[in-house]
């Protein structure tokens, strides 16, 4: 018996949140090949973003709801680079705080999702319970739960007052033991470890070949983190990138779990750095010239290129999202896996189809 069978999964499938189609080539229970079919979520964002650079400050968050603040930060940084202005320090620290808050919500979503896919519904609920704490905190800081709309060209729209600083401190000290509890479950629970250890291996060489970024690369031993370049206020805090060597689903999950705890550290480190000052700088005239900027989104390196021509319209907006390079790497992980492990492997990449397709 050596006939291969082709099984299509998606675009609507219980394991995937988003429309994604994978054609699996199977020999009995083993996967021998996988073909990705993307584009269900292509809305033409790059075209829409180039229509009006001022409105794009807010539209850019609609590229992806999970890492919306990182998108707007990257876009604003690019346009600021074109203007050649330096953002006030207080604004940079506030950006760092909101970006780290969003990293926690995004990672907890990914952790909850993988817990649900391995069949551990209770852990999924627990992840989302802790995530809700940060969602409510962000709602208080920025006024929104998903699209914060707080980054503008030249700074941020909302300041953090002394009462809010205390509130952030309280939530972080409340969150830390809860995350540590989650960490203990993810690292030791046999149900979870058995489903993920040694599954969906991506070696260091493969990781470099497929150009993966973010937690996926760091779980395969590639120590790469854009935050080390020091955008926003990351040059002021102590970064300790989480790197693991195994490259399996377990390593990817644990990298995200550790990064949640590091994010709490970073937010607590940022708060005392806040000094009196303005949070927004006004810029004059339409931008003209080219600019490029990178930030570390929850899924990895996010790059923006903008070409402005001194008008309200932009000549070109190019977005290179982390999921765009991470999702195809699933074709390197799936061959050799069992059919039952396919959802776990796919979800362990934390695929974001709205980022991939734009």
């Amino acid at each position: 018996m050596s006939r291969t069978t082709i099984i299509p999964i998606g675009p609507q499938h219980p394991a995937f949140l988003e429309p994604l189609n994978v054609s699996l080539e199977l020999k009995e229970e083993r996967v021998v090949g996988a073909t990705l079919n993307l584009g269900y979520n292509h809305r033409g964002m790059e075209h829409a973003l180039s229509l009006d650079y001022k409105k794009s400050q807010y539209l850019v968050e609609r590229v992806c709801g999970i890492c919306s603040n990182h998108h707007s930060a990257a876009y604003c940084q690019t346009v600021e680079a074109i203007y050649g202005v330096e953002v006030p320090e207080r604004a940079r620290i506030i950006r760092t705080i909101t970006m780290e808050c969003q990293r926690i919500t995004s990672h907890l979503l990914a952790l909850g999702h993988i817990a649900e896919v391995v069949g551990y519904e209770n852990l999924f609920m627990q992840c989302f319970r802790e995530r809700e704490l940060v969602m409510r905190l962000v709602n208080e800081i920025t006024g929104n739960r998903v699209h914060y709309s707080t980054n503008v060209i030249g700074g941020v729209k909302r300041d953090i007052d002394a009462a809010m600083e205390r509130r952030i401190e309280d939530v972080m000290s409340d969150l830390r033991p809860r995350l540590e509890e989650l960490h203990a479950i993810f690292s030791r629970d046999s149900t979870f470890v058995k489903r993920t250890k040694g599954i969906g291996k991506l070696t260091r060489e493969q990781a470099i070949d497929w150009c993966v970024v973010g937690p996926v690369a760091r779980a395969s031993g590639v120590a790469q983190d854009v935050r080390e370049d020091g955008f926003a206020a990351y040059d002021r805090v102590r970064l300790r990138p989480v790197v693991r060597e195994e490259g399996d689903c377990y390593a990817r999950t644990m990298v995200r779990m550790d990064e949640c705890l590091r994010s709490v550290d970073l937010i607590e480190e940022c708060l005392p750095l806040l000094k009196e000052g303005s949070v927004v700088l006004s810029v004059k005239g339409h931008p003209s010239g080219e600019g490029i900027s990178r930030v570390e989104a929850p899924r990895g390196e996010l790059m923006y290129y903008v070409k402005a021509i001194g008008k309200l319209q932009l000549d070109r907006v190019k977005i290179r999202t982390p999921a765009f390079v991470n999702v195809p790497a699933v074709q390197a992980m799936l061959p050799g896996a069992r059919l039952a492990d396919v959802p776990v492997i796919t979800v362990s990449l934390d695929p974001c189809i709205c980022c991939t397709d734009r």
Binding site: Q12, P19, Y40, R62
Partner: protein
């Protein structure tokens, strides 16, 4: 009304489909299923099977590639069925107005019963929409039973 009728109309199954949304509303739909908001207390359960679904919950402005898939899913859902458009872009396609690859809202493709505004739709608004959908679906299910006799 028999016992089965009473139980049946109280627990519709929900099918969630993303037709090109930015994930913002999807996140809030997931937040609904989890401890703080927990919509299961109203009887709705999220099950990703169109053949057994009663309420179709759509997020996103419907991209051209998703259009046929959405129609296909809608046809698979048995009567009586109800469609709920979550968020501004599912309702009108607003943030993606005039984008070349979107159909400007779910109602351009399939009939919609409940619209939930917001970008992203807040969980409270989604609960409100779901309660409306539940009572509408109850009516529809009762009417269908009466016709059947």
């Amino acid at each position: 009304m028999g016992l089965l009728d009473r139980i049946g109309v109280r627990s519709p199954w929900i099918l969630h489909f993303d037709t090109g949304s930015c994930n913002g509303c999807d996140l809030e739909v997931w937040a609904l299923l989890t401890p703080r908001y927990d919509v299961e207390r109203f009887g709705g359960v999220n099950r990703a099977n169109p053949k057994q679904a009663d309420i179709l919950l759509i997020t996103g402005p419907v991209t051209k590639k998703c259009e046929d898939r959405l129609r296909n899913l809608y046809e698979q859902v048995p009567e009586p069925k109800l469609v709920m458009a979550c968020g501004n872009c599912a309702s009108t396609g607003a943030p993606f107005h005039n984008c070349y690859n979107v159909c400007q809202g779910v109602d351009k493709v399939i009939p919609v019963d409940v619209y939930v505004p917001g970008c992203a739709a807040r969980p409270e608004a989604l609960i409100d929409g779901l309660i409306k959908a539940l009572s509408m679906w109850e009516e529809k299910a009762r009417a269908a039973r009466e016709v059947k006799g």
